[in-house]
C-alpha cells in the first residue's frame, strides 16, 4: 500500500470520529434535557416546602413573613418554566446550587466526594474486565469441562446475590471471622493522615465485592463470545498453521470476542454506579453513595439532581468513548458509515 493511501485513510478515520461524536451528542443532549425536565417536574410535584427545609429547625419559630421572604428570594412561586430555565442556566454556569442536607454548595460536596466513588468504580471495572476476560476465555477453551461448568455455576449463584448482601457476608467472613481485612472506612481508626497504602488496604474488600457482583454477566458474555469465535475461519487457520494453543486462544479468539465486549461495557455502567452506591453504604466509604442516601433522607433536591445528572453525563461520555474504542480496534467498522 502506498503511504498516501494510508494517510488518506487515517484522515478519513479522524473525520469519521468527529461524525460519531456529533451523532452521539445529538442523542446525549436531548437525553440530558429530558432527564433534567423529568427530575425538575418530580421536584416541583414534591410535597416538601423548600423554604421550610432551608430554615431547618428554625422553620418552627419563623414567622410566615420570613418564610415568604425566603420564597420570594428563591423565586419558588414563579411559574415552573421560569424556574426551570433559571435552574438550568445556573447549572450551565457551573452553579449547581446549595445542598440543603449538608449546608454547603453542591459543587463542594461533589468535589470532595466524587473522587472516591470514581476510584471505587474504576478499580472495580478494571478488575472485572481483566478477570472476566481471562476466566471467560479459559472456560470457553474447554467448553463443558470441569472448569467451565464450575465457573458457570458460580456465576449464576453470584448473580442471584444482592451486592449489599455479598458485602455484608464478606465483612462477616474476611473482617470479623478471619480478621484479615478492615470492615469499613477509608483509613484506620488511629490514622491521622490519608496514605495511599492505607486506603488501598481498606479498598480491597469494597472493590472486590463490587467486582465480583458485576463479574458474572461479563464472564458469561466473554465465554459465549470466545466460544463462538473459536469456530471462526481465521482461528481455525491459525490452528492449522500449528500456532501454540495459548497464542490462538488469547491472540486470535479472544481478540475477536473483545470487540462486542467493548460496547457492552458502556451499557452496563449504570448498573455499576448503582452497585457502587450500595457498596459504599455497606463499607461506610466517604463517596457519593453515602451523600446520596443522606440527601434522599433530607429530600435535598439540588444535590440529588446534580448527582443524577452528573452520573448520567459520565455514563453517556463513557458510551461515546467505548464507541470510539470499538471503531479504533476494529478496522471493519467505518465510523462515517
Amino acid at each position: 500500500m502506498t503511504p498516501t493511501a494510508t494517510a488518506r485513510r487515517r484522515r478519513r478515520g479522524i473525520a469519521g470520529a468527529g461524525a460519531v461524536v456529533r451523532r452521539r451528542l445529538l442523542v446525549a443532549v436531548p437525553v440530558l434535557i429530558a432527564t433534567s425536565i423529568g427530575m425538575f417536574l418530580l421536584g416541583a410535584a414534591s410535597p416538601i416546602d423548600p423554604a421550610k427545609q432551608y430554615a431547618g429547625a428554625a422553620a418552627f419559630t419563623a414567622t410566615e413573613e420570613n418564610l415568604d421572604q425566603i420564597r420570594a428570594n428563591w423565586g419558588v412561586d414563579d411559574p415552573l418554566p421560569v424556574q426551570y430555565v433559571r435552574w438550568v442556566g445556573n447549572l450551565l454556569r457551573g452553579d449547581l446550587g446549595w445542598s440543603t442536607s449538608r449546608h454547603e454548595p453542591v459543587t463542594a460536596v461533589l468535589g470532595a466526594r466524587a473522587g472516591w466513588t470514581l476510584l471505587l468504580v474504576s478499580a472495580a471495572l478494571a478488575l472485572v474486565l481483566v478477570t472476566s476476560l481471562v476466566l471467560g476465555t479459559l472456560a470457553a477453551y474447554r467448553r463443558g469441562g470441569l472448569f467451565d461448568r464450575g465457573l458457570r455455576a458460580a456465576a449464576y449463584a453470584v448473580e442471584a446475590m444482592p451486592v449489599f448482601w455479598l458485602g455484608l457476608a464478606a465483612i462477616a467472613v474476611f473482617a470479623l471471622t478471619l480478621g484479615w481485612l478492615p470492615a469499613g472506612g477509608l483509613t484506620g481508626v488511629t490514622a491521622t493522615t490519608t496514605t495511599a497504602a492505607d486506603v488501598a488496604w481498606h479498598l480491597i474488600l469494597p472493590v472486590g465485592v463490587l467486582a465480583i457482583s458485576q463479574a458474572p454477566w461479563f464472564v458469561l458474555f466473554v465465554r459465549d463470545s470466545v466460544a463462538e469465535s473459536l469456530r471462526d475461519d481465521h482461528v481455525l487457520a491459525a490452528r492449522a498453521r500449528g500456532l501454540p494453543g495459548r497464542t490462538v486462544l488469547f491472540g486470535h479468539a479472544m481478540r475477536t470476542a473483545l470487540l462486542p465486549f467493548l460496547t457492552l461495557i458502556g451499557t452496563h455502567l449504570p448498573e455499576l454506579v448503582g452497585g457502587a452506591v450500595l457498596v459504599e453504604t455497606v463499607f461506610s466509604l466517604p463517596g457519593l453513595g453515602a451523600v446520596t442516601v443522606q440527601a434522599a433522607l433530607g429530600s435535598d433536591f439540588p444535590l440529588l439532581a446534580a448527582i443524577t445528572l452528573v452520573t448520567t453525563a459520565v455514563v453517556l461520555t463513557a458510551n461515546l468513548l467505548t464507541d470510539l474504542a470499538y471503531a479504533a480496534a476494529d478496522p471493519r467498522v467505518r465510523l462515517d458509515g
Binding site: P30, V31, A34, T35, M39, L42, G43, A45, S46, P47, I48, R152, Y156, A157, E159, A160, M161, P162, F164, W165, L168, A169, I171, A172, L176, A183, S213, P216, W217, L220, D224, L269, P270, E271, V273, G274, V277, L278, T281, T292, V293, A295, A296, L297, S299, D300, F301, L304, A305, I307, T308, T311, T312, V315, L316, N319
Partner: protein, 283 residues
C-alpha cells in the same frame, strides 16, 4: 439488577423440579404465613437476644430477641406483595407506553421509543432514590419508584408485539369487515398481547423485590418497623459487627435462593418462547 441469563443451558430435570418446589413453597409461605404461623410484630424478648441458630430458632434471634426465621417468612410475604404490586404498576405504565407506540406507529412511536432509550441510559437505582426522596419514603413511594424505573422492557415487548400483529391478515380482515380502531384494539390485538404481558409481570416481580430490598437496605424503602427482607438486612448490620451474622445474612439468603430458583425455571421457559420476546426477558 443482575441479569440472569441462563442461556440455552441444558438444565437437568431435578434442578427444575427443585426450583419449582422452592418457588411454590416460598409463595405459599408468604401467602399463608398469618394463618399457619401467626406473628406478633411487636413481640420482643430481651432475654433471648442474638442467639445463634439452633433447633428452637433455626435462623437465630435478632438484637431484640425476635426469631429471625419467623420474621424472614413475614419479610418474604411483605417483599413479595410489594414486589407484585410494583411489578403490576410497571407493567401498566409499560403497557400503556408500548401500546400507544405500537398502535399509532410513525413519529409518536419514534418519540416514545427515544424516551425509553433515554430512561434506559440512566442509573436506575439513583433514579429510584431520587423518586423516593421527592415523594418521601414509604410504601407508595417504593411502588412508584419501581414502576417508574422498570417499565422499559414491558413497553418494548408490547410495542414489538403490536407492530408485528398489525401486519397479520386477520387484522386486515377485521378492518375490511368494518371493525373500528377501538374494536380492533380490544377484540383482536389485546387478546394476543395479554398472555405475554402476564408473563412479563411475573418476571418483573424479582426485579421489583430487588429494587425494594435495595431501597429498604439504604433506609429509603418501607417503614422500618415492617419486617421486609431489605429492612431486616439493614437492621441486622449492627448485630453483624458484634459477630452475630444471622439477623442480616439469613433474610438475604432467602432472596438468593428464590432468585436462583426463579432463574432456573425462567431459563426453561425462555427456550420455548418466541425469540423476540426472549430477547427482552432477561431476568
Amino acid at each position: 439488577m443482575a441479569e440472569l441469563t441462563l442461556r440455552r443451558s441444558r438444565m437437568p430435570r431435578p434442578a427444575i423440579t427443585v426450583a419449582t418446589a422452592v418457588l411454590v413453597s416460598a409463595a405459599a409461605a408468604g401467602l399463608l404465613a398469618p394463618v399457619l404461623w401467626p406473628l406478633d410484630q411487636s413481640a420482643v424478648d430481651l432475654a433471648q437476644t442474638r442467639l445463634a441458630p439452633s433447633w428452637a430458632h433455626p435462623a437465630g434471634t435478632d438484637d431484640l430477641g425476635r426469631d429471625v426465621a419467623h420474621r424472614t417468612v413475614y419479610g418474604l410475604r411483605v417483599s413479595l406483595l410489594v414486589g407484585a404490586v410494583a411489578a403490576l404498576v410497571a407493567t401498566i405504565i409499560g403497557g400503556i407506553v408500548g401500546g400507544i407506540a405500537g398502535t399509532l406507529g410513525g413519529p409518536v412511536d419514534r418519540i416514545l421509543m427515544r424516551i425509553v432509550d433515554t430512561v434506559a441510559a440512566l442509573p436506575h437505582l439513583l433514579l429510584g432514590i431520587f423518586i423516593v426522596a421527592m415523594l418521601r419514603p414509604g410504601l407508595g413511594a417504593v411502588v412508584l419508584s419501581v414502576g417508574l424505573t422498570h417499565w422499559l422492557s414491558t413497553a418494548r415487548i408490547v410495542r414489538s408485539e403490536l407492530l408485528s400483529l398489525r401486519t397479520r391478515p386477520f387484522i386486515d380482515a377485521a378492518i375490511s369487515g368494518g371493525a373500528g380502531r377501538l374494536r380492533v384494539l380490544t377484540r383482536h390485538l389485546l387478546p394476543h398481547v395479554l398472555p405475554k404481558l402476564a408473563l412479563a409481570t411475573t418476571l418483573m416481580v424479582p426485579h421489583a423485590v430487588w429494587h425494594e430490598t435495595a431501597l429498604s437496605f439504604l433506609g429509603l424503602g418501607l417503614p422500618p418497623h415492617l419486617a421486609s427482607l431489605g429492612n431486616m438486612i439493614n437492621d441486622g448490620q449492627g448485630s453483624l459487627l458484634t459477630g452475630a451474622w444471622w439477623p442480616s445474612l439469613m433474610p438475604g439468603l432467602v432472596i438468593v435462593i428464590v432468585t436462583l430458583a426463579l432463574a432456573t425455571v425462567v431459563a426453561r421457559w425462555r427456550d420455548r418462547l418466541d425469540p423476540r420476546v426472549r430477547a427482552e426477558l432477561q431476568l
